[in-house]
């Protein structure tokens, strides 16, 4: 279990670090995910699914911190579920960015999105393992005759 927790922590950290790595290059200027989405929002705007995904993007780090706090106080199952959602969020944003084609002097830098996606994969793996282990523990604790938890 300790190894899984370390994997999850490393994944969360990678995701957060990845969001601060370069995501966009315009001329000689590189921007991290927050600055990139900020300037693109002002200049072009986001619509549909992209708007939904990026509306709360600056709060990404705070949500990751909530996952750590939940895990620290022993609410592992809640932490794992939230971590899964955060990983899906990060993977969706990173995947969408990596798939973008360059436009007019502006291109996506792959370092930031790829580190974020790698972190998301690690976080999701750890979260799934925690949920599975919790399920097994719960089943093993059941009285085989009555089906009740002992």
């Amino acid at each position: 279990m300790r190894a899984v927790l370390v994997l999850g922590a490393a994944g969360l950290l990678s995701m957060v670090i990845g969001t601060f790595l370069p995501w966009l290059r315009s001329g000689e200027v590189q921007r991290n995910s927050y600055a990139s989405f900020g300037v693109v929002r002002r200049l072009i705007g986001f619509h549909g699914a992209a708007e939904l995904l990026l509306r709360g993007w600056p709060l990404f780090g705070a949500v990751c911190a909530v996952v750590v706090v939940l895990a620290a106080v022993g609410l592992l199952r809640a932490a794992a579920v939230l971590a899964l959602l955060v990983a899906a969020w990060a993977a969706a944003v990173g995947g969408e960015a990596v798939g973008r084609e360059p436009v007019a002097g502006v291109r996506v830098e792959r370092l930031g999105p790829i580190v974020t996606i790698a972190g998301a994969v690690a976080t999701a793996t750890a979260a799934i393992l925690i949920l599975i282990s919790r399920l097994w523990t719960r089943r093993a604790a059941r009285d085989p005759t009555t089906g009740r938890t002992v």
Binding site: G27, R31, A35, G38, V39, I44, W57, P58, L59, A104
Partner: protein
Amino acid sequence: MTQPPDAPYDPNAEPGSHGRVNEPPMPPGGWVTLPQSYSQPDPAPYQGPPPYQGPPPPYESPPPYQGPPPPAWQPQPSAGWQPPPPGGWEQLGPPLPQPRRSHRAPVVAAIATAALIAGGTVTYLAVSDSHSGYGGAASPREAVTSLVNDLNKSDLLGILDHLPSGERSALREPLSELISQAKRLHVLRDTADPSRVTGVDVTATGITFAASGDETINDHVKVVKIVNGRVAINADLNRVPFTEQFLRAAFPQGIPASATSHETINLAQVNRDNGPVRIAAEQVGGKWYPSLFYTIADSQVHQNGGSNPGPSDYIAAKGAPSAVEAVKQAVVALQHSDYQRLIELTSPDEFRVLHDYGGVILRNAPPTSASSQFTLKDLQLNTRQVSGATRVTLRSLTFDVPGHETTVAVAGNCLEITADGDYRKLCATDIINGLNTGPLRGRPLTAGQSAALSRFASGIPRIGVDVTSTGGQWYLNPARSYLDLSNALLEPLQDNDLLVLLKLFSR
């Protein structure tokens, strides 16, 4: 009926020693009914009524009261609480393990605190970065300096971010659409190194502002004057990520040598010859932004030897109640050379500069013709939504020139023209047939060329005027309409149509 027990209750008594031994004694306060699961008894077949047993026995009084039963438990004599013997109580049984102090709580608290501090810091940095673009400057000079910095880094996003919001929104959608169309029609490569996509590098060094200070145009526009510095411009068409097909179609003989140029402008020399370089900055929301439109207007006025606009030159915006009405009123104003009404109908968000320079424009406008030969009798318009605006397009138009009435109506991809009662339908195929039997008789259009030309012609009815609403009034957006012109024409084209048309027109 409950009867009192006739003997004290002995829990150790053998069952059957009393008449009611099978019943537990009634506790003080009465019986407590415990919930029991109700089971439906098996229905038995009806056996008929029981035989008569005679009258019930007469009532017998209960036996006399024998006094309270002796208590089963006798209180033990006690001398009250006694202090523990010296040396403490004796420990009986195996020794108890020493209680361990939990080290988990401080660790959890430390991790949670660290996570919250880290999360808060990350969120603060993220929010700061998301607003880290150019948010205006404290002075016009700072605004221009910031623009020059982004220009030197070729930061296209940064440069666009410097524009006032009204100009930005007027440019961003049409330009973005134009780039998408160029890629769709194989003019620009999809995957090119776009860090120099414009093909132009501009580097400004040693920029020096005039010691006399900035020139005030009005309460929200100032002009920054640059008197010294160097601007190096390197333009190279080869660096624009055009597709090979486009370059072959546009330059059949190869890219000319003039496609590459390197030029350095000495701003001190420009200042000596023509005066300082003037860049206008507009104040929006208390911050200063370099303004493209005000710079163009200021440049035009000063090149023509005019003077800056004064407060009396301002023409207030007066929109129309609907998108269609705005365009109709503009057409009528144009018909009567009523330039003031045209300026009033122009969007104050996009073209505030027109309102500020209104008086200057009217003084330089061509004189109004005394009698117009053209009379608009009827105008029917269509509307459709485009990104961020409403586009008003032509449905039908009836006009009268002395002695002749003509109606032009759009019908799909064709035009229906009725001139003095003479009806004629003009479609793209008619134009193509006319070309094949006329100027192109020797080399008629191929099927591909005809199809491309037909689709291009179908874009003509899509041309219109973009109109936006502000404060419940509708205004014209001239810059946006102009930039959208090419998009309207390119929209119906497919795949290689544009390349086919380029080859057709360059043959």
